[in-house]
Amino acid sequence: VQGRKEKATIVAADASAQLDWAMVYEVHGPDVFAFLRRSLGSTALAEDVLQDTFVRALRAHSHPAAEAVRPWLFTIAANLAVSHHRRSRLLAFLPFADDARTEGEPYDAESEQVRRALRSIPRDQAVTLTLALHEGFSRREIAQMLAISEEGVKSRLARGRRNFASAYRALEGGTT
């Protein structure tokens, strides 16, 4: 939490009346990218949605105050992530095999397994779980972001946990 406040301050200090988009991207881009990569399960897809997130943010008629930029960007990113792939039958054709690592890049097998499990559960649940557990947003914040009720968030978290457990178990057993 402290880190987030510091980031907000950096942006605010450099952008009194207007946002400094270079700084916004530098400061918040990595977090949004990590969130998207985890909840979408694909680096290439996360890159595209990240681009789309910032393009939409740039195009917006009005921008939030500097301290609200982070949740605002996550709101855009989360909604894009949820809405992108409702047609689940296409998932098998998306380029998920493109997560080849470049030389020297850290590799975390457990994290890869988590991404694979998240990829196989309904997208709205994966996004909600990631917003809550990976990004630390409260239920109220997530409800505002996704334009659903707090009860809806609770329900998605419960179903998400159940489905994630089932998917992760299947991966551990090598049956997926």
Binding site: V24, D48, V55, S83, R87, R89, S111, L157
Partner: protein, 492 residues
Amino acid sequence: VSDHPRADIERHREPDGLGAAERAALRAHLAQCAECRAYAEELARNDRLLSAREPMRSLPPFAARRRSGGSVLAFLAAAAAVALVVVTALGIAREGAIAPGVGASSKPGTSLAPVTTASAIPTPSAASSATPSIAPTASPGSSAGTGTLSGNWIFVGKRISDPSAPRATVEIWGVPLDAGAARLAYAYSTSTGGAPEAALDSAPYLRRQFSPDGKQLVLSVDGELVIVELESGRARTLGLAGTFPAWSKDGSLIAFVHPGPVGEVVPPPMHVGVVAPTGGAPRDLAVTVEPTQSVEWSPDGRSLLLPSADGLALVDVATGRVLRTLDRVGRGTPAVAHWRQGGSPQIVVVDNECTQGNARIATVADAAAPMQTLVDAGLPCDRVLLRDPRWSPAAPSELLYVRARQSPGIEPSDEVVHLVDAASGRDTATTLRAYEATWTWSGRQLAVIVKSANAPYGTVVALASRSDLAVQRELLRASGGAVFFSIASVNY
């Protein structure tokens, strides 16, 4: 399993998920149930896994992408003026230094894009140009065409993925049922990954995309609307960015999905617009909540069904007014409704929202009548998926649909073709396993994409007898990783 309070264990992961009494009861149960303790520990471990930070990856340059093949992504086609500013700024960012955005002050050592002026920020009036036009281009695909079309043809979509890129070749094949060999009607390359508008229409739902005479087909090729003359193979773009097109049954309009006006951010809106098949200015009708579904037109072309937040909305095409909403159906699968000319009932829909407890097939006698349950699937929507109901063109009370099994975390499986007698409500599971199915025009046969066991879609297109459901002949077979994804029957 029902004796174990799994839902309570899941809810207990949230700080206020359970009340005091529920917490006490759960603790008591956990004390004597090893299985539930193991589940609680598993959920706790999973929360730790989900909370662990994603390993850092280098941030990609903030640059708009162009896919190989040169087609402009649909979302960049929206709002050309703004996109120009953004792309220009991003182009500089790609070189390594991120340029200040619109209206930002210059920083030492940072390149400035030449056109980043405050006046370039879109105004509300500029933003209203929601339907993006792009310069018409030459035909993006190729084909010699089918030659003269007559009798009953079965058309199927075939996709061959490119293993080295997020692209695929889509081929539209036609098979004359009377005589003659299958013919390649049209082929094109399309994106299968990347920006959503480009990625999500690479397996078009063919039934809705034919002109009323069946001799033209509207497609979305890399996010651009293209009309193909099937007999000659000639194609022309409409100069519009759009996906999931549907040709009205009176032939006068094509409905399509496209990103909403510039400036609307949350939630990302997708609009349904209409345009004449000859081109010209498009017109926005409504916002859809399922950006990956085409609309179902009424037979007279005056209204259409599209997924709205409240259900399947019946929209008046002339005014854009929502005339009524059919419960909360219309979600979760590309094809949820079929509206036929004449007959009663006229409309059949699948309810995958379980508004009445279970998944179901429902009918509506006409645009004003109430919904009636025709088939109760007997299972909730997280266990079963119903899709793609289609009326028989020959038997007034008969329809087919595909029923698939669902389980958490896996793709739908065990697809089975069902036949329903709308008069009696009798629902018959056939022996046909198919991803998608349709009727021959006589109603005496079914044409099906036989579902592949371990892959999405199917690799065989076959013709089966309606009477005994035996497969009579194979129409097409795919190999080398190619798949068939959609099927339609057209009579000439």
